[in-house]
Symmetry: C2
Subunit: 141 residues, 2 copies
């Protein structure tokens, strides 16, 4: 099994970083329009809400330390967990992002790896400047 793995240092506190990945207003500011309720995250991609809805079960949530999701409906439902691990860093905080459970490093893996490169920079920019680059601002790769 393979994983998508990124490490990004962000000039924001672990508390602010956790809020940005755990709260609806945070996720919407760097990834895409979403709803969080009843331990589920639903993310909406595309021009209308019906275009592409992806559901995630929130597997674990340890404030300011770790958050994990499992895709329950959508293109990653056969893959493993998405894990955001947060630690303190001299410049603010350090995020280790993982998306586990890929059987192959195929084109879809490589596409998603490149997309996460973009969205994690959007997350960093959101926390450092107040303005992220959520979908549909992502590049059409």
């Amino acid at each position: 099994m393979h994983s998508i793995l990124h490490r990004v240092v962000i000039e924001a506190s672990p508390e602010a970083l956790y809020q940005a990945v755990a709260e609806q207003s945070g996720v919407a500011a760097w990834w895409s329009k979403c709803e969080i309720a009843n331990e589920q995250l639903s993310v909406f991609f595309g021009p209308s809400d019906d275009e592409m809805r992806v559901d995630f079960a929130i597997l674990s949530a340890q404030p300011n330390e770790e958050l994990s999701w499992q895709c329950s409906a959508g293109p990653w439902q056969e893959k493993g967990a998405f894990v955001f691990t947060i630690s303190a860093d001299e410049r603010g905080s350090c995020l280790h992002f993982a998306h586990h459970g890929w059987e192959e490093t195929d084109d879809f893996y490589q596409h998603c790896n490149a997309k996460w490169g973009f969205f994690l920079l959007s997350l960093k920019q959101y926390l450092e400047t107040g303005a992220g680059m959520p979908h549909p601002n992502d590049p059409n790769i």
Copy 2:
């Protein structure tokens, strides 16, 4: 062994994409100041030329199809080859980027994976708009 693997579709011809990764003026426009001569690529990072010079041997060069480098002096000299594989795509061209030969998916792997996410978008932006985001415009992650 592990690899850093990204797939990016770029709205430019395979010929233009190959030039952007194989020629000095191309690499300087999306990655960093560099020199290409005698089958060697030297890239300069940092405020002055002496700050961090990284040398790569050009292992293979198949115009408009594939280019590969081996770091010969610098932080990746114990790792494997960097390979840019280019194919035609209905929107222009498709780049598969690989950096092979990582024994572990450690912090340095994860940092470099995130950095390549940025620089490959810089390459795409350079080819599609004429303006890349070469070092020192890269985010301090």
